[in-house]
Amino acid sequence: MAMNDPATASLKTPIPPPLILRPTRGLAALNLRDLWIYRELIYFMTWRDLKVRYKQTVLGASWAVLQPLLQTLVFTLLFNRAAGFAADTGIPYPIFSFAALLPWNMFAHALSTAGHSLVNNRSMLTKVYFPRLIIPMSPVLASLVDFLIAFGVLIGMMLFYHFDPAAGYNIHLTSALWTLPLFLLLALITTLGVSLWLSALNVIYRDVGHVIPFLTQIWFFITPVVYSSQAVSAKWQILYALNPMVGVVNGFRWALFGTRPAPGPMLFASTLVAFLILVSGLFYFRNMERTFADEI
């Protein structure tokens, strides 16, 4: 460029240190440094996912709110009167299910978008280098943004039930509220872990694309979104707790409304499983990453 005067030249990014390209074997290094260097790309990709999702829709981002609201409405109509669904919790069914739907929808949406993310961004993978982790990460982060928007509605619903004397419910903020971000973190860890597995597997086995809706549905039933986890009999509780989303949903309800079960030893099982999924997912992804461009 003719416009390269010394002033702009000094602003140029410094020449990066020499880069050695060689075959990596076994469990490849996670190379989180590159992820840090490319942090702006994480932001742009997340922003793109959000932007594209609501382009050419009449209602735009309000879908992030409408979707869980409509789901809650349906669940309330279907299950409110059914025995045992929200038994003994002492909180209104709409808010009971809505609080669970927030982390659940984040998880389910991220799975279906992240699962296809590598395949859908094939042209990027085969043409230019950037840390591949960014591709499944950005739909997960986009789902987190949707979660935060919908969370505002939850606050509104809680206020409504708090101030509505006719309802006869008494919703107060619990002292455990500070633990809510921790449960959100647990949900994120689980979501990212499963997303990494599915997206990488989908590169090699396109069957995964067909399995994801089915997997999400089954997972929905083994997670106490529409019912209370106390409806599950005691002898199954240990197995049940191996599902990290059980820990997340129970934790959300406990932190928000103080409903039982309070987090106990089972939460450790949930957390451990979530970490196992994430760590194994990271390694599997990194290991597969070497051949993404060749196999996709």
Binding site: L19, R22, F44, K51, K55, R290, I296
Partner: protein, 436 residues
């Protein structure tokens, strides 16, 4: 780093890349992937196979399904050098560029890169049709590795270069393809990498776009940056590069100042006299269902030969297989001089009657034969290329340097004067001399 090495920006040592057969060149058009059923099936068959072979060890079982797309490549590139890379289809040029730009990992050896690698091939990578021009500039810039501040700083320059100011806030799906290409190129061109990789940009876009690409390349070279230029176009290679490496079947065959390298490339590798056969690994996956088999030139007596006479007709024979029927197919030849200038192009169904009969061809084995009339070519060496395509629909296969042959002008008109004649053709012109 030792200070003596400071001038080397790319150093490649014994670099190799192994592919599983059937996985090469994931062009996106025809990606091949395993399904669970395949894997389960092969798992189920494995014990049977083991029983049959009596549990004998098969050391090559793993190797058999693999091949080296690139092997034992070593070279280095100095700062500010413009290096040409040439080789036939499947020689490993794209694989080499993919490794150097970190898209894929090498299977052996190593490469050392000093500086950011940018590629004019990446034009428009990650562009999203629903996003506006402005939004895509930022997104694409970030994908190419630019910082946000850097994009902010270059934004006006990028917009001016792309000439799409009025449409900045329009989704790019409403852009014309020319606008789209200009915007995409503008972003890529402002990446200002230390190393620029250019792979066959000359194959896409209109003349104006190609002119811009080449202009950008010389700009970059003049700034003392390094350029790797891959092309099939020998005249572009000769014009733009000082030094060139020749790849042949995944190996580095030759490195020399460009004119020598081009001569070497044009003259060598075409070992069989008057005949060229395609091996499986030389046929890109996207050629399917078209499969080239061989190309021959025969003299007047029907022998496949390397050297032909100008005064006799030359028969060109292209043998190929269609694994599935193709409609609108035309199979043709190009003739080029050694310097890469076209002499002519011709298709087997140029005749409307033949197109009617053979435009839609069922699966099968075919030979398309054409006869070049006598007294057509001047003496010299010529390059024969082949092309199989459906007009405006798809190009199945193209190899612009399929075969080289030479023409001897013995007995041609004007041969009584022992001087070379200019130009690629030597027609027998009917002269009439009258005294008036």
């Amino acid at each position: 780093m030792k200070s003596s090495m400071n001038d080397t920006v790319i150093r490649v040592e014994n670099l190799g890349k192994q592919y599983k057969i059937g996985l090469q060149q994931g062009s996106g058009l025809q990606s091949r992937y395993r399904t669970l059923t395949d894997t389960i099936a092969s798992l189920a068959v494995a014990p049977v196979r083991a029983l049959r072979s009596g549990f004998k060890r098969q050391p090559n079982a793993r190797q058999r399904n693999r091949f080296w797309a690139l092997q034992d490549i070593s070279f280095d590139v100095r700062r500010g050098q413009v290096l040409g890379i040439i080789g036939r289809n499947g020689a490993g040029k794209s694989t080499l560029l993919k490794i150097l730009s970190r898209v894929t990992e090498p299977s052996a050896g190593w490469a050392e890169i000093h500086g950011r690698v940018g590629s004019l091939l990446e034009v428009g990578t990650g562009f999203h049709p629903e996003l506006t021009g402005r939004e895509n500039i930022y997104l694409n810039g970030a994908i190419l590795g630019m910082k946000r501040a850097e994009i902010d700083r270059k934004f006006d320059e990028i917009v001016a270069f792309s000439e799409v100011e009025q449409f900045l806030d329009t989704p790019v799906k409403r852009y014309s393809s020319g606008m789209y290409l200009r915007l995409a190129f503008a972003v890529a061109a402002h990446l200002e990498p230390e190393i620029l990789v250019v792979d066959e940009v000359l194959a896409v876009g209109d003349a104006e776009f190609q002119r811009k690409c080449l202009g950008k390349m010389s700009d970059v070279a003049q700034q003392g940056r390094t350029v790797l230029f891959v092309s099939h176009n020998m005249s572009a290679i000769l014009r733009l590069t000082e030094e060139t490496i020749v790849l042949d079947r995944g190996r580095l065959a030759f490195r020399a100042p460009t004119p020598q390298a081009v001569d070497f490339y044009m003259a060598s590798g075409f070992s069989q006299a008057g005949e060229r056969n395609w091996e499986a690994h030389e046929i890109p996956a996207e050629a399917a269902p078209f499969r080239p088999v061989s190309l021959r030139v025969r003299d007047a007596r029907g022998r496949p030969v390397d050297s032909l006479r100008s005064v006799e007709p030359i028969t060109v024979e292209f043998e190929y297989t269609l694994d599935a029927p193709i409609t609108g197919l035309r199979v043709g030849i190009y003739l080029l001089t050694m310097r890469g200038e076209y002499v002519f192009a011709s298709f087997d169904t140029d005749d409307p009657g033949l197109f009617e009969r053979f435009g839609a061809r069922p699966a099968g084995h075919y030979i398309s034969q054409g006869v070049l009339p006598a007294n057509l070519l001047n003496e010299g060496r010529y390059v024969l290329g082949v092309n199989a395509s459906s007009f405006r629909i798809r190009r199945y296969f193209q190899d612009e340097q399929a075969l080289v042959f030479s023409v001897d002008a013995a007995g041609a008109p004007g041969k009584q004067w022992p001087e070379p004649r200019v130009g690629p053709i030597r027609p027998a012109i009917e002269w009439k001399i009258e005294r008036i």
